[in-house]
Amino acid sequence: MRQRRRTWQTLLTTTATLTVAAVALTGCGGTAREAKSAPSAAAAFEGKGPINYVSSRDSSKAANKSIEEWNAAHPEEKVTFIELPDSADQQRQQLIQNAQIKSDTFSVLNLDVVWNSEFAANKWILPLPADAVPTDKMIPGPVNAAKYRDTLYAAPYYTDGALFYFRSDLLKAAGIAAPPKTWDEMKTACKAVLALPEAKGMSCYAGQFDKNEALTVNFSEAVASAGGSIVDADGKPTVNTAEAKKGLNLLVDGFKEGLFPSDAITYLEEQGRRAFQDGKLVFLRNWPFLYSSLSATDGSSKVAGKFGVTSIPGTDGPGVSTLGGRNLAVSPFTKNKATALEFIKFFTSEEQAQKRLALSSRAPVYASLFEDPAVVAKRPFFPTLLKSLSNAQPRPKVVQYGATTKAIQEEAYAAITGKKDTDTALNDMQAKLTELASK
């Protein structure tokens, strides 16, 4: 009897101890997100030594080259490349997890432009000294995207803007001299082209309409191209305006009128590329990345030499692109902040950007590089891209970007699939965004 009790006592005590320990640990967990201390604008960048650069893999190896060059010159302050998953969601998750436990493993972070506000406001990245990067030589859009409340938090690494791909051969065959600049012109052009016998079975246009970040991009572009905006300068949502309605209607009508192929509702960047590359589309909105695969002459592309690029169409003139790209920032939890800052300066310098251009097709943030004849010879779309980038709009710069983009996708998707009419969808979106902005 006594023995049994003792046995169970031991077991219970062990469990109880574990429970108490666990609760105690949990307690610490709960307070880990205590109120953040006041910011020190010129946060002290101190400490030299080895650091880690955290990013998804660069398949072109251009980033690795830059790091090798740095490591050769700084044997005491070596940079190690910590690779993150390919998926942007998983990258963000890893970055946030490590910020939450204040891990000093992640030193220099490669951030999507849309994460900048969130990371800055939560103090997961440090504000950079005013003179850290030569912002005057950079395209204003990407620089603006790296700022939060007028303070620069990250150094622009590369940028991305929309391009409008068109089938030059078919336009020519239909007797259309110049690519369309507006949606109406595009529709007219489509009518002419699709009447051609060689355009049998083709659709007019596609963007990216699956419920994904890409839909936010396409929606933002449609609204901006119609003269509207998602949030105004003060961050107040403005999607219940006539312009926004006009913008969203471009997409809704596109599906209704059969202008877009019906499976475009499942399109991301890749599916659109394939459809265009296989000759199923006359026009396509996409990023510059597909230029090289479309031009491939190994037989994989049916449109090599038969397409051109220009700015995306608007309602009254050329449309407005949404800005993509990546920035580099310093984690406040790393030990060697001085090295981290120096590395960022080195990595994002014009010299390194130019060197990377030899390997990578990612668009640099230095305007001068777009006009370099040697570069343009290799990447003929660069001048068009620069034009697209020069008036590109960032997606809403809000702290709760995740919830914001989700609300946009939710309502825009409901509208283009016909589940809600445009007005209801936009009113609901406005309500959701207003609620988010008030938090």
Partner: protein, 305 residues
């Protein structure tokens, strides 16, 4: 019956004496049997096709070039090993990742079986209080959504200094493996008659010997099945391994796969992922081929009477 009798029975049966396997094929009059065997083979072929068709598609896709990865032809044309080369390309350290997966999954399986066998023995053979409660608690641990475990564990393991260690992956994997092992083995041991061990004990075995020489061999199908299922499960674990490990020397294969990148950030590295999928699956199939004899032709109940 002596222990050596039992042991002989075990080896005999392992060597392939007609066991329950063949007996399950029910006896039938001959005329019906041919008809039945045809339909049975047809059924088997269908099952085979269902299991392998998607895998075949994975294999075919992995053998295409990046440029024609989206073709729907049933054979890769042109045939290319490009994806396999890329998977093992130096910077990915995929070979090392496979080895790490083997270490993590293997250790997990061994520990899960060890602890599972102990616990199942206690539950199925010993009388004590709170038995249902303990079984309930054990299974309750596999009810908590995995994604909610990550952040607290990351915090805990950081405090313990376990980041970038194998145990940071092994211990969480055990949380799935142990409940399965305990529950499954308990069911097995319970199904086995108690008399046999008692007979062995009367013949002079200690409890431990009766357990090791009689009960354990009899439960072999359950043990090996559990081994295969837990091995595969921890072989496929991703989210914990991703969060706890940032050193490529220790990362597992699934994490390595997630880090593959397409030619650009919008292109998913489908071909490489499929090739890696094939590579990761093959060792498991080999392992199953080795172990399956133990599952089906282990000491069957034929020896129990």
């Amino acid at each position: 019956m002596t222990i050596s009798d039992l042991r002989n029975a075990a080896t005999d049966s392992g060597a392939g004496t007609p066991g329950a396997t063949d007996a399950v094929v029910p006896g039938k009059p001959k005329a019906q049997r041919t008809w039945r065997s045809y339909s049975v083979y047809l059924g088997l072929a269908l099952i085979f096709a269902y299991c392998l068709a998607p895998f075949y598609w994975m294999l075919v896709s992995s053998l295409r070039r990046t440029a024609d990865i989206f073709d729907n032809t049933l054979l890769p044309a042109p045939f290319s090993l490009e994806n396999y080369v890329k998977v093992f390309d130096g910077s990915t350290m995929f070979g090392q990742a496979l080895l790490n997966s083997l270490i993590v999954a293997g250790t997990t399986t061994v520990f899960a079986l060890l602890l599972g066998v102990f616990a199942a023995y206690a539950i199925s053979r010993l009388n004590f209080r709170f038995k249902s409660l303990i079984l309930g608690v054990i299974i309750a641990t596999s009810m908590f959504p995995g994604i909610s475990v990550v952040v607290p564990l990351l915090r805990l393991f950081t405090d313990l200094g376990w980041i970038n260690t194998y145990q940071a992956m092994i211990v969480p994997s055990l949380s799935f493996a142990i409940p399965l092992a305990v529950w499954n083995l308990t069911t097995f041991m319970k199904a086995l008659p108690f008399d046999l061990e008692e007979a062995a004990m009367i013949d002079g075995c200690t409890k431990w010997q009766a357990f090791r020489r009689v009960l354990l061999p009899l439960a072999a199908p359950g043990v090996f099945t559990t081994a295969i299922l837990t091995f595969i499960h921890s072989w496929n674990e991703f989210i914990i391994a991703l969060s706890m490990i940032n050193d490529p020397k220790i990362q597992t294969a699934t994490v390595a796969i997630s880090k593959f990148t397409g030619a650009t950030e919008f292109q998913a590295p489908f071909g490489e992922q499929m090739a890696a999928g094939v590579i990761v699956t093959v060792p498991l199939v080999i392992m199953v081929l080795i172990f399956q004899r133990r599952i089906v032709e282990g000491l069957t109940a034929g020896a129990s009477k």
